[in-house]
Symmetry: C2
Amino acid sequence: MPLRMSSLFVRTLKEDPVDAEVKSHRLLHRAGYIRRSAPGIYTWLPLGLAVLRRIEAIVREEIEAAGSQEVHFPALLPADPYEESGRWEAFGEGLFRLRDRKEADYLLAPTHEEVFTLLVKDMYSSYKDLPLSLFQIQTKYRDEARPRAGLLRGREFIMKDAYSFDIDDAGLDASYETMREAYVRVFTRLGLPYVMVEATPGAMGGSGTHEFLYPSEVGEDTYVRTAGGYAANVEAVTTVVPEAVDASAVPAAHVEDTPETPTIATLVDAANAQQPRSDRPWTAADTLKNVVCAVIHPDGTREVVVIGLPGDREVDLGRAAGTGMLGDGEVDLEPATEADLAAHPGLVRGYIGPGLSLEAPVLGADSATGLRYLLDPRVVDGTRWITGANEQGRHVFDLVAGRDFAGDGFIEAAQVRPGDPAPDGSGELELARGVEIGQIFKLGRRYAQKLGLSVLDENGKSQVVTMGSYGIGVTRAMACVAEEYADDKGLLWPINLAPAEVHIVATGKHQDVFDAAEALAAELEAAGHTVLLDDRPKTSPGVKFGDAELLGVPNIVVVGRGLADGLIELRDRRAGTAEELPVGEAAAAASARVREQYAALAAPQG
Amino acid sequence: MPLRMSSLFVRTLKEDPVDAEVKSHRLLHRAGYIRRSAPGIYTWLPLGLAVLRRIEAIVREEIEAAGSQEVHFPALLPADPYEESGRWEAFGEGLFRLRDRKEADYLLAPTHEEVFTLLVKDMYSSYKDLPLSLFQIQTKYRDEARPRAGLLRGREFIMKDAYSFDIDDAGLDASYETMREAYVRVFTRLGLPYVMVEATPGAMGGSGTHEFLYPSEVGEDTYVRTAGGYAANVEAVTTVVPEAVDASAVPAAHVEDTPETPTIATLVDAANAQQPRSDRPWTAADTLKNVVCAVIHPDGTREVVVIGLPGDREVDLGRAAGTGMLGDGEVDLEPATEADLAAHPGLVRGYIGPGLSLEAPVLGADSATGLRYLLDPRVVDGTRWITGANEQGRHVFDLVAGRDFAGDGFIEAAQVRPGDPAPDGSGELELARGVEIGQIFKLGRRYAQKLGLSVLDENGKSQVVTMGSYGIGVTRAMACVAEEYADDKGLLWPINLAPAEVHIVATGKHQDVFDAAEALAAELEAAGHTVLLDDRPKTSPGVKFGDAELLGVPNIVVVGRGLADGLIELRDRRAGTAEELPVGEAAAAASARVREQYAALAAPQG
């Protein structure tokens, strides 16, 4: 039976949703695929569910083909395993927590590492049982601070999460590679362009991880790439650290009056006027900017820290927070508030510096202020800086790292810039934005260790299992497909994801037209195709065509005025082309076109 | 590819789970179909998931065939719609509630009437859009006080819930009947015996409802039936109310000393000795027993009430709580505690009565105690009772209902007994137990009214929509199938629900055996069958046979010792029979048997 527009539970809308920021959200809403139930929480209407199920089927097929077995965990889980792993705290406010009637703690799982680990521990005990790969396609929950862009960042969403279990590192490497290849097949079949980038493990821990990003301006992730093939999440880019500099010729640090230097630029001008360098002029990169920030730890603790970096760079709060260098778990990093500054009167706003000598530090855990002082990796020993002298209107010159000051450690906090060198030497970085649609992790032994998953090896010796974790955002991938395949008229589904293969539009008032449309639908269905039939008796042709374009079925057959001349029109939604065909040939032609579209998908991609 | 026991994520267990109360729970656990994650919360292992998916597919097919369209709602919902409907309170402790990071109230939905109502309100506005039927197969949450029996009463479970929307009562009747017929087809295809019983709407409200019960001793629901075809949940049985009695000849009430009458039996003996009736001896049915109970209202309020009923009957707390006569929403009813009694010193334990005259009531909202007094419907006007005189060691005789005392109302609180007359006159009731696997409700206009779902009728007049709600416990139905189809060796799946159609067991150490088993598996899969292959190289035949019996695939093919003579054994798991076949005929024979088993299912049932 075809889907019939006369009874299908769908209403197309002219208005965008009020909170719509991106095309996929606007179109999925207006075309009646999804409806918002709460911020970041959506209801799936019949057409949306049809597309979602097709995407799930592709994911399932490829992950099973990679040797993974499907299971299904609860979304509602007891807190204990997450307390053991430390993530009950580490997830911070992003975790939906609740209590049952007996006051026991539960959570709505954002991801399932802990319970997969425990399940395997419960079932398996020997190296002979490994390698093992398990997966589920399941509803996940994250209490996002800023749910946005429809399905792109939801609070209830569907993920495919898979986990591998191996006896040794070589096994994990092989499992990781197998899953990486499966991901390539999944995204290829979904028609989604992707970039695989190096990433940082973040709160998940582990030894290596890559993200699959759908390159798009609507993405929240910034990544970098080089013509030479390097690609990484900005959080994972490591600064090319200059070699230490010989500073023996640098004079002793000296404090100078620098009135009217409220900005880096005015400071540089003043420095060149008052204290010119013999070798070259001072630049912003010679100034050491000390930025006061506040780290919000997972337990809610607020810690004021100072980040020192060259004056020509800005702090990238997200990158710095993602490095894992600020503390355990998922931390937030914010600019310091007035209150933060007021609480530390040792900080002279506009003139903050590390102090004039190693003996009398102003910044650092052991200093007068007691504030952690983290440095950009470019601040290597021997580098020579102009920086605040901790006195109003004064700066210190010729302050040398290692000789006159030191930090509590380094942090990758500076914004990555186009033109920065790639860490692998493959050239200059360029920046791009993308949506994370998949991530693969080498978790290593972290979870197995904490939760006690060991098996006996060939020699009867207990070995901690090493694990991988592999996620695909299924609902998010659907949003990306909608983002990629759309034009200003509406959605434009690839044939293998469309809610129907052919959309038949019957126009006009003649019963003949409706009879012919019904016959054509029956013929196409008999040939194994899925059909959406617009059989609404009183709707105008214009509305019907508009709806067809908005809904995005790739092939549109118009049964209308031409029928009197024995003609039917076959439209290609994506190409925007149309051809008239004798009514007797229409089914065969539409069927052939559908087959061609599938064949084109299966063909090797350009 | 066959499922292979050598790599399949399954471990059979010899031990029952510690909390196992019923066969299905024991077997699904021991056979490695499910694992408990928390009380009433289960993880699905590959074999369990395979069966569950087959059950879901049958449910989906039949509900779609009934004209319902599939959608999918979130499990995590904002509280507002449930506050508007009153169920945020009415669900009481059974609702999982939580707050997001902005302190907004959410719930894990136990059922979705409110949001379906709002969705239709959002999308539709005309009578032309109706009738409409929508459904979902979705994870539901109820914080059961006593999760039990594995999947039979879970806290996270899968339900198919459908909702119908009609413009008038006739439409609702038709939608209800369509869904009833679909349910019959679903349960027939699942091979589940069922009884359709009248039930009470309870907290759901509405005008009519039936439950589908799987008759089983493990069920928590007691229902009644007659040889004449009546069937009802005990909560829905209505007492055949005797006609009012002419009490003009009954003497005035009189209080008597009745020492040493601690029980109804001793009271009856004393009455017959001291105050014999002229017409017949007193029996327990002539005594009026007044039972003190506590109603726990949804808001947590505890209300002490007194229920008066004939002394030969016990109070059925569940039935009384289910009648809806004790208050709005889902109430609990408990025996009164010492504290309850202590709080009402007017109650003389063992001698509680309504008082000696209508002018000086002891029980009732307007009485000295102020406690609501609810009467069994058999206490009709003119009936003559012996009951407590509210004095230690004394009873009142010839107390006549209507003349000397009255209640605040009637309640169906007495236990239904075998032999009681059916309300429809179809004979004497017999009692049986069952598991609720489905329920269909005529909700009527309650939700549409509260949430404002109206459409314009043919005359342009706004009409409140009338709704039905239809549930099937999908995971619970699976437990019932496991309950129904099992023997002392293990599970016994019907062919259309089994995780595989044929289980091939390769025994012994000869490579020939494994090669032949592989070839047979390949042949059966080529013929379109699903195969589970026990290819474990070092497992003993006994263990393999035991596992095959426990797992419950209906057809077992043994490739073992006989292979040297060119023979293979084909076992029928349910019949317990086996036949030897030439190896060349085995695949065809197994295939034929599978086809016969499907054909037998499709045949009209006995």
